[in-house]
Amino acid sequence: MAQIVSLAEAVRRAIHDGDAVAMEGFTHLIPFAAGHEVIRQRRRDLTLIRMTPDLIYDQLIGAGCARKLIFSWGGNPGVGSLHRFRDAVEHAWPTDLEIEEHSHAGMANRYVAGASGLPFAVLRGYNGTGLESLNGDHSAAPTIQPITCPFTGETLTAVAAIRPDVAVIHAQRADRSGNVQFWGIAGVQKEAVLAAQRSVVTVEEIVDRLDPRSGAVVLPSWTVSYVAHAPGGAHPSYALGYSVRDNDYYVAWDAISRDRDAFTRWLDDHVYAVPAGQS
């Protein structure tokens, strides 16, 4: 059964230095408040996993929380670069960042394998790309390998499962027993939670009863470790029905993140100086 706790408590209990952490949410429902709490609690040496690192991982990387990034698209959507991510890869600031990169289809299937309790997933993909060679036999820990179909003899691609220590997601609602419900663009959050050993779900509101809603994903309480009330916790991304995407923030992030000093000031003013759940 999920425990309903404060955001600070959830992060303290669920996320430890050195953990592999997947904070998911595909443009929609990105768990920013939880990400900021991880920065505030100064977690270090995390392996950060996420299809689209987005601003949330730009912030965590710039704050020095990450040792490794596993991802498939690291840009500021519609705006340009993630400058903190680039600074880490291009100049090792604030610390060196190991990267393991895939395509979206590959990452999605790696989560599916993790959620399914399988060591790998199969897809048509990667053939002829540089990603195949990066993650193949020459890699220290290969995550892409060709596989022969036992029925047709066709050669397909196997990708290694992702099994994070912790998954962190944001949802619209939970009830008082910790059952979680989210809708709209659902990304890979269900797969990430089911693939992980532990999970933290922040929610816009906690209600007495979850009304049925067509197309909604429900994660029963017994699949979730911690639920924390964090209204607005997806900002500057959004929670359909509760908020709209703050596109201006995404545009403004470009200038803040381009400059190490401006970023450091932003961290001090907007994360360290602010209580949990309010940044």
């Binding site: 698209w73 291009e90 999605a108 048509r124 002829g128 790309t129 659902a186």
Partner: protein, 263 residues
């Protein structure tokens, strides 16, 4: 927005970027299903839907199928896409059930670098992989869009930096190193059919599959296109002069762009 194209021969003043977006929109046919990348492809696909192709089915990798945005989304997951879609599916589903089996007619992509066989790089430029000179965003949905859509259209501004003999990193495969490579790799889609730039249109040669200049925008010369290409660009014997934007196309495009610039 770039400055006005000084060479544009038309009653209408328009920019090179506007011409490129209009030409890209014209490449899409009404009723097609189209997997749309963000940026230039999204602007062009939405322009097509607002003009000659109202039945164009827009599919974004966020899992929004049949999105009908009234304003240009900044990201592939803006709320307007989910709210106007025929169906919203999970990310594993969009790639596995919808893209992978070859159900989607056209993949619409952009590139940081592209080579003469239409291979696309959006990963790293210069240096080595571990410490590149420029770290780009990476693959996203592009490798499988390039592999599995029935055909691919690429929209990219043309320069010696972006049009290179060999890409520094093959993120998404076009024709690999030439004829037979897509088959060898088991890629089910036909590959890139057009590269639409701010100068004109390139199409693959039927035999060599090398991208050749087949169309020029009004006022642009083949010499300029060759100058702005990092390989020895082949030019079709009689490249088509592509008509400039119509007033209706230009109005529709500016209406769409206004929805982005106004916010």
């Amino acid at each position: 927005m770039k400055g006005l194209n000084p060479a544009a021969i038309s009653d209408l003043a328009y920019t090179a970027d506007e011409m490129m977006t209009v030409a890209a929109a014209r490449a899409l046919r009404d009723g097609m299903t189209c997997f749309v990348g963000i940026g230039l492809p999204s602007a062009a696909a939405n322009l097509a839907r607002a003009t000659h192709a109202p039945g164009l089915v827009l599919i974004y990798e966020s899992g929004t199928i049949g999105a009908k945005p009234t304003e240009l989304p900044l990201s592939i997951g803006d709320g307007i896409l989910a709210e106007t879609a025929d169906a919203v599916v999970s990310v594993p589903e969009i790639f596995n059930y919808w893209l992978q089996p070859g159900r989607i007619d056209a993949g619409f992509l952009s590139a940081a670098q592209i080579d003469k066989f239409g291979n696309i790089n959006t990963t790293v430029i210069g240096g080595d992989y571990e410490r590149p000179r420029v770290r780009l965003p990476g693959a996203g949905g592009a490798p499988e869009i390039a592999a599995s859509c029935r055909e691919v259209i690429v929209v990219v501004r043309q320069s010696r930096r972006s049009f290179v003999e060999r890409v520094d990193f093959v993120t998404s495969v076009g024709y690999g190193s030439g004829p037979g490579d897509r088959e060898r790799h088991g890629l089910t889609g036909a590959g890139p059919k057009k590269i639409i730039t701010d100068l004109g249109v390139l199409e693959p040669d039927r035999v060599t599959l090398e991208f050749t200049l087949t169309g020029l925008f009004p006022g642009v010369s083949a010499a300029t296109a060759k100058e702005r290409t990092g390989w020895d660009l082949a030019v079709a014997p009689d490249p088509e002069i592509i008509a400039g934007p119509t007033p209706a196309e230009l109005d529709a495009l500016r209406d769409l762009q206004g929805t982005v610039n106004d916010r």
